[in-house]
């Protein structure tokens, strides 16, 4: 799949390409907080890209810039070689906290993502949403309200909502940090399995996390960020077999390498 989609060129082609991104926030006291300094990166077709950095290093901001939610102060984001000028259904973002509208049922929450995608009839929207809820293991919970779900189930619902638009790229912002460790293990496994299935979009996944083991477990390639302001400290390919054994020596070599890059 990776080779097939990479087109004719020598290097694997980028689906999203960020060029010289810089971004700052104004603080309450009128100061300027620089969060991202001159980052350029490519998200390649078909890859699972991990972005790792310490807490508060601007990872979330970077992800929102890649999603088109934040316009960077400097630099451009290209999606399929065209400038990205706002959110698009082709790029889905999963937030750190499972943000679902509490007054809508799980099904209605998922359907919300389809409302402005294409001209679907209500029945089609329902069917498609149900199918994706099935996929993430939430069949039977369609008419439940988010408040009635556990943290892990909410995150699954968010995943269904993110995938229901058939996005090319799935961006995930520490999606496993808000659930308990056991649920995180099974969620990670499912994301990993989903990647192996050919029928399910997306072609590329970007995972942002401060959890190095998590990144090594899932990523084909890792980009390491410095702490604030975030710059690229290094890059690493992880050509390990899946599913990856966290206790193997090879796994820990990669973890060590990343920690070295981070410090």
């Amino acid at each position: 799949m990776l080779e097939a989609e990479s087109g004719g060129g020598m290097a694997p082609e980028a689906i999203i390409s960020a060029k010289n991104i810089s971004h700052s926030y104004r603080t309450r006291r009128g100061g300027v907080l620089e969060v991202i300094r001159d980052i350029s990166l490519d998200v390649r077709y078909g890859e699972f890209l991990g972005i790792v950095g310490s807490s508060g290093s601007g990872k979330t901001t970077l992800l929102k810039i890649l999603a088109g939610l934040i316009k960077p102060d400097k630099g451009v984001v290209l999606y399929k070689n065209k400038p990205l000028d706002g959110p698009t259904p082709s790029i889905s973002l999963v937030f750190q906290l499972p943000a679902l509208f509490p007054w809508l049922t799980v099904l209605e929450n998922v359907m919300l993502a389809l409302r402005s995608v294409d001209k679907l009839s209500n029945d089609e929207m329902i069917n498609r949403s149900r199918a994706f809820l099935d996929m993430v293991g939430l069949s039977g919970f369609e008419s439940a309200y988010p408040g009635e779900l556990s943290g892990g189930m909410k995150q699954r619902a968010v995943l269904a909502r993110a995938l229901v638009t058939n996005p090319d790229v799935l961006l995930m912002d520490e999606p496993f940090s808000s659930v308990d460790p056991l649920t995180a293990v099974s969620l990670r496994r499912e994301v990993d399995m989903m990647r192996l299935s050919e029928t399910i979009p997306p072609s590329s996944v970007v995972l942002v996390s401060h959890n190095v083991e998590e990144i090594v477990e899932l990523s084909d390639r890792v980009i390491v960020l410095t702490s604030r302001p975030a710059r690229i400290a290094g890059e690493l390919e992880i050509p390990m077999q899946r599913p990856r054994d966290r206790r193997s020596g090879e796994f820990y070599d990669y973890v060590d390498k990343i920690f070295t890059l981070m410090s």
Binding site: G30, L97, F101, R115
Partner: protein, 535 residues
């Protein structure tokens, strides 16, 4: 009058009124701490105090006033009027503050109380190190709304007309009446301008710093039921509009939010009807005894008899019609408030600068006592008496609705806005799936407060007494009736009307508003944790 003289007199009047309000506010702080902490820490006291406060706060303030005047006058003749005036202002300021203290004390973490017990802290030390500091943030937040509320009733509290007793205290309220009566438009405008300046300065120099004081010390979420999301990051907007605008608006809840939280809390644990009944009975008894004391009759039977006579004189049917008409006016006022507030709030809430500017402008407008504007309204709408009344009711209610709704919309968690953006929802979809849902609890709360304010304003709106001017609606109304009885000095009729009004307000609060609020919140409560957002 010369302009200089007018300025001088106006400044002095504002000073006198400010002093009165300051004294009342100080007493309110002491009262709220004492009663609030008692109710928050003692279960038995709580069951008596909270329903009683709920009834007391729903009594139209101007209904207190003849009672207060009589009481203070017979106690201390030479200071009676002054004390009665301060007492009236006090009753317009104190309830929300007391509820704020009560709520704050009630939610102090048990681990804190247990460590206090293990350290064997005395009651005084517990007050000093636990209860008072825990109450401070929300008490301070409530000072400003209390102050505004006091201004609203200032005019009424300085011109004390009761039967033959006719006392005018020097101050803002009485001076305005004088100017209006004299038809001196320039003087009215001068006083108005000075008043706005004084109100803005007080906000900037006193209340904003006070509110900001506790900001730093407030820990996230712990012991803070109503912890608000941190104020939005600030751009380069004028500091005045910023400080008094968005900041105040997003942090300061309206008084009755406190009330509502407190009531919602207690009704969950205490059986509603019984506590309410107990409160009403207790209140009626207190009223009876104080009437007996004031009229210096020891015979309670006689008092009851007189009350019955008064009731027959007004006529039950008359009372019923007056109540219905007043209810209609209140409903119209609340609906009109919603009609303009919701669209305007929806229009400006996404823009930080727009919200700040509009908020500041409205806060200034809201600080003007509505009674001042009466001559203006009267000359614009000379023959439309109902419309005139509606405008007055609207002025007393609209701000509550508007600021509540704007606050509710501005507190929409950022990730929900981002989701709407990410899935490119149309404006109609955003309205339908996000904005209206988030605005709803605030809208209901705003309506509760607005309705309460409207009932209070009816006493002025249905019949205004300014100097020798008497303007009233031709249709019946409870406020009109009360105003007439106050002028007549008919103590027993006043008590009956006040009781009817209080019963209607309490009944609506419990029967309609609380249910509506619970209905709305039950759909939103499910994920309160999210309100804090993430870094």
């Amino acid at each position: 009058m010369e302009l200089g003289e007018t300025l001088l007199v106006s400044a002095a009047a504002i000073g006198a009124s400010w002093l009165r309000m300051g004294i009342a506010l100080t007493i309110s702080i002491i009262f709220s701490l004492a009663v609030g902490i008692l109710a928050g820490t003692n279960k038995r006291a709580e069951r008596l105090i909270i329903p009683l406060l709920d009834i007391l706060q729903s009594i139209p303030i101007l209904g207190f006033f003849p009672l207060a005047l009589y009481g203070f006058y017979s106690l201390i003749p030479f200071l009676g009027a002054e004390l009665a005036s301060i007492f009236l202002i006090f009753t317009s300021q104190v309830w929300n503050m007391t509820f704020a203290v009560y709520e704050s004390t009630r939610v102090i973490g048990s681990e804190l109380l247990e460590s206090a017990r293990s350290m064997r802290l005395t009651v005084l030390d517990r007050m000093r190190y636990i209860y008072v500091p825990a109450s401070m943030p929300r008490l301070l937040q409530n000072l400003q709304p209390s102050w505004s509320n006091g201004i609203f009733f200032l005019v009424g509290s300085e011109i004390l007309t009761f039967g033959r007793a006719d006392i005018t205290l020097f101050g803002l309220g009485s001076l305005i009446s004088d100017f209006v009566e004299a038809g001196d438009t320039r003087a009215v405008l001068t006083l108005l301008t000075l008043l706005v300046v004084a109100a803005v300065l007080t906000n900037l120099l006193v209340f904003n710093p006070l509110t900001g004081l506790t900001e730093r010390r407030r820990s996230k979420g712990r012991g803070q039921v109503g912890s608000h999301p941190s104020p939005p990051a600030r751009g380069i907007v004028g500091w005045i509009s910023l400080r008094s605008g968005v900041q105040v608006m997003s942090k300061i809840p309206h008084p009755n939010i406190e009330l509502h939280k407190a009531i919602a809390g207690i009704t969950r644990r205490v059986s509603t009807h019984w506590s309410l009944l107990r409160g009403l009975v207790f209140f009626a008894l207190t009223a009876l005894v104080s009437v007996a004391a004031i009229s210096r009759t020891a015979d309670l039977g006689q008092v009851l008899n007189d009350l019955a006579v008064a009731l027959l004189e007004i006529g039950p049917l008359n009372l019923l019609m007056a109540t219905l008409y007043s209810l209609l006016r209140v409903t119209a006022g609340v609906l009109a408030s919603i009609a303009w507030s919701l669209p305007v709030a929806l229009l400006i809430f996404r823009s930080r600068r727009g919200s700040a500017a509009v908020t500041t402008a409205f806060q200034i407008a809201a600080s003007i006592p509505v009674t001042i504007l009466y001559p203006v309204i009267s000359s614009v709408l000379p023959s439309a008496d109902e419309l005139r009344a509606l405008v007055l009711v609207l002025m007393a209610t609209q701000w509550y609705v508007f600021f509540q709704v704007l606050g509710g919309l501005r507190n929409i968690p950022p990730e929900e806005l981002e989701i709407a953006e990410m899935y490119r929802l149309s404006y109609l979809d955003r309205l339908r799936y996000l904005y209206l849902w988030r605005a709803m609890p605030a809208l209901v709360t705003g309506c509760v407060v607005a309705a309460g304010g409207a009932w209070n304003a009816l006493v002025i709106a249905e019949r205004i007494v300014l100097g020798n001017i008497r303007e009233e609606v031709s249709a019946p109304g409870l406020g009109k009736l009360l105003s007439i009885m106050v002028e007549k000095g008919d103590l027993y009729s006043i008590i009956i009307i006040v009781l009817v009004m209080a019963a209607v307000i309490v009944g609506l609060n419990r029967g309609l508003w609380k249910r509506l609020y619970d209905l709305v919140v039950s759909r939103l409560r499910t994920e309160d944790v999210k309100e804090h957002g993430y870094a």
